[in-house]
Amino acid sequence: MTSPGITPVMEKTAGTDTGPGGPGGAPARRGPVPVALLRGLAGVAGLVAVLEVLPHTGLVSADYLPPASETVRALWQMLAEQTFWTALGDTLTGWGLGLAIAVVAGVVAGVIIGSVPVLRAVTASTIEFLRPIPSVALIPVAVLLYGTDLRSKLLLVVYASFWQVLVQVLAGMQDVDPVADDTARSYLLGTRGRVRHVMWPTALPYVMTGVRLAATVALILTITAELVIGAPGLGREIAVAQVSGAVPQVYALVLVTGLLGVAVNLLARAVERRALHWHQSVRVEVTA
């Protein structure tokens, strides 16, 4: 049920950073600016350069892949328009609202199911069946019921993100150290006390992983709903730009969604770090 790669336990190893191919322990910092950062910037600059030059060489038609400068110009023009900001707002609303509902529902359901063994046993098969159902299967249902409303966006987003959170919460509640649990019992902590003081702190890293995954999934589904259903937002802007042949605008909007994705990742990581400042995985990273 749990996947090893996304449990926080595995993530600790990501902190030790010696490439097995290299001589090991190459200095990451040299002078005031980290070398890795400079190289990363060089990589981005390289990508921009390739995107700029490629259409000029004629290898790729500029009709399909406009030079980077043109994309940036299109983006610049878009930033001055009200429609862009409205679309961005619509996307963020769908994402934030859907994610919030999914996280609350997932945590509440997870804590209840996880703390009652009978419930866990009874629901396990149902969860395993419902979870892999692709939420895009709900697109026709959403269109029929709610049209291009915000609610049809929310239906998809909540369905997709809810399982990410629920499964992680359940995994976390199961990971409780038996010694800690027995100790709590010896001290006569009731179910509520054990959930509060033993299970929840154990589950929190998992919950945070779930929230981080859900944040990404929620963004994907928000944009999907806009793109396919036509709910207002960045996704619909992309569809409109594509249909009207405004290729640089398509690329500019795709770039915006990518940056949005990066921002969501960074935000989720920051929240995770903050909520788990007491946890070993974060403390190790800080001192390292």
């Binding site: 490439g19 990589g43 046993a121 026709p140 996704g235 990518g258």
Partner: protein, 260 residues
Amino acid sequence: MTVVAVVRRTLLVLGLPVVLFALWWFATADSTDFYFPPLATILESFGKVWTGERLLSDVVPSLLRLTAGYLLAVVVGVGLGLVVGMRRTVRDYLEPVLELFRAIPPPVLVPVIMLFAGIGDTMKVLVIVSGCMWPILLNTVEGVRAVDEVLSDTCRSYGITGTARLRHLVLRGASPQIVTGMRQALSIGIILMVISEMFAASNGLGFTIVQFQRSFAIPEMWSGVLLLGVLGFLLSLLFRFAENRAMAWYHGLRRAQRNP
């Protein structure tokens, strides 16, 4: 005793699904609501719609495109991931770029790839590759990075290099992470299979279901939703089966480490 245990287990596994199913069945039994037809009607149209020629004309092409795209993504993702993961300099240069590509929600690539590849099979396969590749690639990079240092040193001491090192140390050490990436990629692949067909296609599951919805063939549409759900479930089952076989050594190792 054992009979009781078996009955108990069966009840636990099947109990809730049966209850939910019955609930749906009876709640909609006399439904006259246009949007929520009786489950009996949905199941009846399921048999009619998806067993005949539609199976060959819509379901099979969708699955073939998914398979092709997914396998291609695995090859490209693992291959690139090995290169990037084993060379620290390469990783430094490429990491921000890869993070950006990964962060782009895969469905927005559909309109972009349509520009290059039209609306044929190539477009759909490319869309699936371009979406599934990133989780596999980045997890491979992480996995290669986290290969056990002692094992790595041991390999060096024994003079194990080249392909042997790649196969027995790097690939094997990274495989739990690679499998995680492949699992994430599978659900993305299914999403993209459906979306690419909803966007522009002349056959396929996504296309057919949207056609049903647009022509208000409600029971047929619901049967399509059911089929997609069952398909998602079966594919994840298949994946778990394959994973348990391929990664048996790893799961055994983890169990042994957990309860010494």
